[in-house]
Subunit: 316 residues, 6 copies
């Protein structure tokens, strides 16, 4: 272990003096065009805003570090989505990145001690502690899936490593024409363990492509992301994408939250169960959920050819 | 509950006087170009014919109601496919819609009392009865999947709400250039509970698209249906599509029913099991099914470069 | 049973005199352009070579029989991949076919006695023996999946019947512009039982297409193979494809074998489990695998902007 | 096949002339002490009565044939339990056997043609038909499990073959001191295929005992049935057992049907799922079922130290 | 809903004036013989002590309320076991109850508002909130199972309702001769939804007994608890039981925590998976855990015939 | 790692000089009363005999080492049971131990280098190799389960550690009055990883007992083994047990091998699947297996009141 720590010191020192890196965030970075002026308290890596009454916007916000995922990020995401899950005002979430790119992925500088110098008196105890750490980091993205409110993610520029783990846990993926995606983990000697390997194959339809991306760490650009089904829409630039994302979020937010959140919960359930199991579950789910006044309100609006946006649904 | 019933009455009255609707079938409708003159006895919503010896054609047949799914439909489908499953003459099924569109989905006028005024002395008992109703309606489309004969569905015009539930339970999907698809349930305040949420993600390869369609209720047109894999072929118009569907049905019907129906059964099984489980199952399946004379007959035809259509297989 | 054997004799005799066949390998065939001069000992149907230090090339090598899968093939594949799995030098495998096409599929002439004349004193005992045979043949392709080293398959010309079973068990699929694919089993009266029905639906995103291919036995050409996601790249001809396959294999081989093989193992695991199960498994997997020196070596190379190809990883 | 039919004829003729049998019902049998005078219309093998307002008593009633399960029985059970499931008056079911023993199991004389002379032009088609028959017969006992009302079964004397399949599908098992149980199938050359092999291991705690019983066909007497957990109570004789069964049924029937039937449904679900899956399911179940007035009524009775039998619950 | 609240008020008032109850804790109660003088801060319902260096004793401690489970209890258990899980000093947990009995189960007085007056603007929203509550309460006992340290529970006197949910989530169950167990939920109109229905059938071997207990709410005494396998030991009185529990805890605590906690984790995993899945998981688990110095230390002690209690294992 | 190897050397040296051990086999041991004079070629740790025509007797045969499981044993078991599985003469297997006890479990002296000094350049590679070793050792007992012939195991004296792993993989367990069982792994610092933790909970009915045995390593004697259901019969001494085991084996061997082996295969399948899955599988299994002449032969024998031992079934 001693050798490893010495080697690590060298790497860190070298990085600090060179002050740059491929997927590690550079130390100096021009000011970003982020729409908000900085992370909202109490978060240091996320900026939370409420563009419309029912939509929450979560912005990865360390633009000077290319939104690299540092220690704070991994726990702030959990707090943030737990709050969102409990917030009766919020019906839909939009996630995007501040600055030049969506995210450079894990901030290895900041995370190195956790991942590369785990504590423990022997191999078993080091392993025990590593497992706890991995499990905790998995939760960072699983909270997105566990949150019953739909999450639309809008990607511009690079989406690297942990970024792919993040977006595969979201419900709807959009990107700009200049976006690219890279499963980076194999390049630093690890099998991706916080979600990409598990969710990506259930997110896109070509297993050959999944394997190629995960094993070669090659970049995938917007067109292939669209044709493979990773994203469902590509926009010319970030501005039009954000407008599109918010419009889509608005469409969803206008509908009955009982219907919308029940749909998300059952779609996630369906992914991990047989069709028969899924049908049984939703029958049990809907035996109460159909008894909502939202059905009447929605039906009436439809009959009267009004937009669902005109209907006032109770909070959920 | 009282309020709801009052509100419902209002909706119904309003609908009756206005005599039209977006996805509710309008009361008056021009005569359709349906190939058959009307539903075959004993069905009031389905027209059954036998275009060729081994192919059964099931036509949704309430053209004046845009093939909306009324109470009769939900049970007639079960009877119809149970009959087909037991009919040794039939080897393949083609499903299509009479009139201007494939189907407008559930006939809310006719179904309202079932879904919106369930009986029961308290919430638990209302829920209990609703669950029975949902489970029964799920069977309407699950019979398609349980029928071991392949089902080719041909969609023209609109395929809305329950229509998507129906077609995702079929084996092969074709459509015309003017077809469009809409998961409508969220627009009336419910999470789709008769199959779409469970089968669609296993039918097409883009989860982002599935989620977008289910959460926004936006329309998807033929081109996107083709590129996303929902349909495997798009035809210029209904006539060429029906010709194509029947030709494809003929190709399948010409092959050994032991092979064809075993293939369907094992494909459905494979969807809901691990690869290892699926392989174990088909080994157990084929230990008897390989002992069919169809293998010899098929092999001989292949050797002699004859079409399988020339081979006479025993009934199954 | 007697009738069947007599019929079989007739078929075989007829085939021998006519000396040709659609998907049965013809008896006479012009010399192939196979890159190697013949199967490497100890295999009679496979030619094994080592194009680069860490890449093993497995070539289906019965070019005069269009690489039809005879009895020897089914067991040689098992031996071959078990050897590869145990070979610490090999990090990636490339599979291709010698001669004019990738493979004509099962060699019915050679296999007929096994499949069509199974032994047994009564139907139950015949079935028992057939099940053993099927299970054994399934292993022929499952070894590819069980081998923790990634397998890139490169298809040119025809890939018929058993060929589709083979390639769906590989990790990455490439093909030439002239390649075509055909699930042939239904044409000889059997439900495909060595993998296609189980793996193909999890390999491509359109279930309608899977069903159509399996039920009609129609050919699918390179463009549709690409757009449906069966292959992730199409090349102009075999030569450029082989170059591309080896380059991709080189990229993978250059990375940490701990990361690469852990990625494959967990991707296969993820396919057959829920996301939650997969995440739990990889946390347990990586609690030890993260303790590899490869992480340090890889990180250092990345920091210094060196290619992973410059890093010397220990054997695995 | 010809040989088999000839052999069968011999067996049947021999049986008819000898007019007796070990587990096949003898043709002549003294009058039984069955409590009811005969099967209630419309059943020929079952006698249905209503000993108390909310308890349905289903009696196997072919005492002169030792309640052997003939063709009629296998379908009457399905009709009977479907009726019971739909009957809002019935809250609990008691099953017992008329005459000297509980049941001699399958009536081979009557069933022989179905099981031993299945139709079909070749082995595959015979197999196909056999599978349909087995699946249909499995339903005969699965309806007991699918019926949400608890089923108490009371066994006296012999419970052989199909009888064990039947009782393992019930919820609570009682027996008399003279009862014995025998998994008979292996003695006639078949692996038990209508439930015993699947339910018994989940019903009792000793797998060694399950295997021994299934593989040797030895008899198990009341004491071992009690100590192994097959039955939860042993009574001195049939009369006291029936009194005990009805008392227990009365206890269950006195409680809230929402609670009781929800308990059965979730216990069956729990058996076939992980604990986490089961907890998720019952949370989804109870989110509506807790909204029953039965909770208030039950709580009030408990507070006032009244028996639940004094509470009037709405029908379910 | 108004009626229900009125009814509830009546019940509560009635209970307060009568000042007693069957399974609701009475308001006045003689002083208990609890070994500790009161709950340890910060808990109001639990008293935590450390009888030996490595054993934590959790005592249900509302003796004047017969350890009824009030609102505080349901969340304190979660905090308590999360703390224990993270405490490196603790290797084993013993759970028991202060005062006259183990626990009277849920404290309906305190919980009524949560369970019986859930908030929500319509049935769907009430259901939504109830589901959240149920899920939260399930966690109260699931934390016991998720805590990797073995939990020995020692029951004296009554163990009612929620008490059975609690003990079935523990690893080892002991009781006194005067103990009795009662699944009480059906008596208040609900299907038990926090664990009993899911864990009990996997804890004892007789399904008939499980069903009888859950459907009739009858009491089970110590002897039947022992013969059915619910408890593995019965002691004469509480004092000897507590001595026995601590001795057993000491035996476990003396062994390698890597081995002990790995055993618990894999036993829980095995319960919910097939044997093959379980074997795969533990192979992946032990590939690192076998690399503990504890193996050497344990082996050396065994060679030298020393007790494992003499070995100093590192903390985990 | 250096320290560990040094420590190991010490342990081994110490053991060699002291020449004894609790559960490690002592070096000198009096001659045993094994019925056979020594291991049958080609095995060095197993003695194979054929007491009757259809029964194979596998005797653990290193009596001077208390049948401790050395390196040879772990692979010989695999060869032995693969041979038995393929031997058409053998219908049932009996396993017992030569000498004074059934088995002392793993031979740590012989196995130490494999388990305690695994090779590998870093922790990940050591782990990789350990996983391969564990997986290989798991197969040693899984072959018993995969062999379709029933295996009766007869235990006398001690059955320690690996012995419990072995017997839980057998179908029927018998023991002598002086037998005792001990899950020993936790005493040497490891979580049992070759089957006990996975099979024992599905073999006996008391989870509390399973946990207690696995976590405390206490001995369980014959009476508790019987009452808990681990064994289904206890005999006075080894001689009567062996007679009983052979008689039971004879009973099983006399029955149709199609029925017997189908029963075993489906019982193992049922353990790891839901009831519905198990029923589906056996319907698919029996659709061919019912077409055996054994049914006729068995039925005829039953009709004529002849013992199944008089029937000549074809080999399987």
């Amino acid at each position: 272990m001693y050798v490893q720590r010495a080697m690590l010191s060298g790497i860190i020192r070298s990085a600090l003096t060179k002050n740059r890196g491929l997927w590690l965030p550079s130390q100096v970075m021009v000011r970003t065009m982020s729409s908000s002026s900085g992370p909202t308290s109490p978060y240091t890596t996320l900026s939370i805003s409420r563009p419309t009454e029912r939509v929450t916007h979560v912005e990865l916000h360390r633009p000077e570090k290319r939104n690299a995922m540092n220690k704070a990020f991994w726990s702030e995401m959990v707090d943030c989505f737990n709050e969102i899950a409990a917030d009766p005002e919020c019906r839909v979430v939009v996630v995007s990145g501040a600055g030049k790119i969506f995210t450079a992925g894990i901030d290895l500088m900041d995370m190195a001690s956790n991942l590369l110098q785990p504590e423990g008196d022997d191999t078993a105890r080091v392993s025990w502690n590593l497992r706890k750490t991995i499990t905790k980091y998995q939760e960072t993205f699983s909270v997105i899936e566990k949150c019953s409110k739909p999450v639309v993610v809008a990607v511009h520029g690079a989406c690297i490593g942990g970024g792919v783990d993040l977006i595969t846990a979201c419900d709807i993926r959009l990107c700009t024409q200049d976006a690219w995606f890279q499963i980076k983990e194999v390049d630093i000697g690890i099998a991706a363990d916080v979600g990409t390997l598990h969710r990506l194959p259930k997110v896109i339809g070509s297993r050959s492509l999944v394997n190629e991306l995960a094993l070669t760490a090659r970049k995938m650009y917007a067109d292939e992301a669209k044709s493979s089904g990773l994203v469902s829409r590509v926009f010319a630039d970030k501005e039009t994408m954000m407008a599109g994302a918010l419009e889509m979020a608005g469409e969803i937010a206008a509908r009955s939250p009982v219907a919308v959140q029940g749909t998300k919960i059952n779609l996630v359930y369906a992914r991990d169960h047989s069709v028969a199991e899924g049908l049984d579950y939703i029958a049990t789910w809907n035996m109460s959920m159909l008894q909502t006044q939202d059905v009447m309100k929605s039906a009436q609006a439809a009959m009267e050819r009004k937009s669902p946006k005109t209907v006032a649904f109770s909070k959920l």
